[in-house]
């Protein structure tokens, strides 16, 4: 008994080197994000001086009154909402069709769904751009949405497929046995089971779309989404303090759906055990 205890303790104790390595790695992941927040309050507006010479809130006020930034925010919001909506429909349908079936060519279709996110964004972007060009479709908000929906689909698909795999197929059978028709089974049995997974996938799709810059660069005409505004500031910094504030804003807008999505994913994984 004593021996066992000793050996487990030895096992459960991380060595000093390992702890140091893990903490250093975590700091590496998080210090840059903290610095962004710090820099939004700096009084210095010409350089990226560290430590900041003084602190001020005035940049937040300036950003609040900048119409061009607000236009970019609202355009990004619109695009993210519509693409998420499309991605939810397409991703859920694909998940429903593919999770239990096996047929010739299934793996090719699965790869096809993953491809838009697996291939570099620049390839997806240029491909769509040249097709729009050939077909004579003018670049607009809708061309951006088509691009976004294509790569957002996979996030919804992944979430819903994972949930479907964990849900018992007997539930659907039982519902049909008890006399429910398709629509009833869908609304009373499938949807309550899938709801949070679809919502979680949708949240991630929203965050993905709101933040996307590469595919957007190629599918946008004159439209300036928030990431495109940010990207042009990164190449030629003209308004450093304002960029800092916008960076915080983007961080929090993507942060909220992510936390919400992981909360929903964790909340429902517990109750599934009881269904089984």
């Amino acid at each position: 008994m004593l021996f066992r205890k000793g050996s487990i303790n030895k096992l459960n104790q991380a060595g000093l080197g390992l702890r140091f390595g893990a903490i250093a790695g975590l700091l590496f992941l998080h210090i840059p994000l903290l610095l962004i927040i710090l820099y939004a309050f700096t009084t210095e507006d010409k350089t990226y001086q560290f430590p900041p010479p003084g602190y001020t809130l005035k940049w937040f006020e300036i950003v609040l009154n900048r119409q061009d930034i607000w236009n970019a925010v609202s355009l990004s919001m619109q695009i993210a909402i519509i693409s998420t909506f499309l991605a939810i429909i397409l991703g859920t349908l694909a998940a429903g069709a593919l999770y239990k079936t096996s047929f010739f060519g299934k793996s090719s279709i699965t790869i096809l769904i993953i491809l838009p996110i697996a291939l570099p964004g620049i390839i997806t972007g240029i491909s769509l751009r040249s097709t729009f060009g050939v077909l004579g479709i003018p670049f607009s908000t809708w061309t951006i949405i088509i691009g976004h929906a294509t790569f957002c689909m996979v996030v919804v698909y992944n979430n819903v497929v994972a949930r479907l795999r964990r849900t018992s197929p007997n539930l659907i059978q039982a519902s049909m046995d008890l006399g429910a028709n398709n629509l009833q089974t869908f609304f009373y049995v499938i949807l309550p089971n899938m709801g949070t997974a679809i919502l979680a996938g949708g949240m991630l799709a929203f965050a993905l779309s709101f933040d996307e810059v590469i595919v957007t660069t190629f599918t946008a005409g004159q439209q300036t989404t928030l990431p495109i505004w940010m990207f042009s500031e990164l190449i030629r910094p003209r308004q450093r303090p304002i960029t800092n504030v916008v960076a915080i804003f983007i961080m929090f807008i993507t942060f909220i759906p992510i936390v919400f999505a992981s909360y929903m994913a964790s909340k429902t994984s517990g109750s599934e055990g009881s269904i089984k």
């Binding site: 096992l11 390992l18 975590l26 992941l29 998080h30 350089t47 990226y48 429903g96 096809l112 992510i258």
Partner: protein
Amino acid sequence: MNNLLDSFSNFSYRNKNFIFLSFLILPLLWLGIVYLGSLLIFLGHSFFHLDGFTGQIVYEFSFKTLIELFSSPANIDILIRTVALAACVTIGSAIIGFPIAYYMAKFTSPKVKIFLFIAIMLPLWSSYLVRVYSWKLILAKEGIINWFFEKLNLEWLLDTILSTPVIGGPSLSISYIGMFLVFTYIWLPFMILPIQASLERVPNSLINASHDLGANKRQTFYKIILPLALPGIIAGSIFTFSLTLGDYIIPYIIGTSKFFIGQAVYTHQGTAGNIPLAAAFSLVPIVVMVVYIYIAKRMGAFNAL
């Protein structure tokens, strides 16, 4: 009406293929036409070539563009540079990521594990551009790294690093070290999560047995833990490697004026209007990744995902 719905329900329940097809048709049409169609048309351009005099694309099947890609030393340089950087980033993130993954998998309580999990997911999902931007602040001449070295009176060390040929440069934000740091930072979570998943599956009894049989910590690590974590490392490397191969934003914002594959694609399709060459360049990361994934699959990387 209800009857009709019921019989439809019965019909569709018995005919699974009907449901299956009606579900699949919409996403399949979207991906097949909008996405795959565009992709094949674009990549197919690599078999056309640009007329040297008129600057127009000649729509004739030939290997001229592919030969041009692999015969010009400048293009070969771009390919080698990109693959080398991707390899360095992969190794770097494996080294930085392993301790976190190991700690998470084997030495934490469930509560701490969830906390760490969120701590790793958060940067992964938060804005890519903002995270690249943060490194612009960090690597700047007046930024935190230079400040840190100054406070420790180690400016000479930084200067020595920067004056090293190849990896150095006039400042951190215009050097390969800077690019390496940013790439590693951006893709690190993709490496940590698969390693953690594969370590999670190493049974504690195996580690106990190793200790019982007289192996010390070091031997246990190298003979038991590391080989079992290898599929996870390879799975993570698929992400870090392919994401680095195709990125053009980071080399654009941070780094030297020397081109990487992504930038080459960007310039050739944009200002130069040479879509065939852009398509040929795009084929390289795709082919490299197909081969890479094939090897990874044979080494069992996909069981670790």
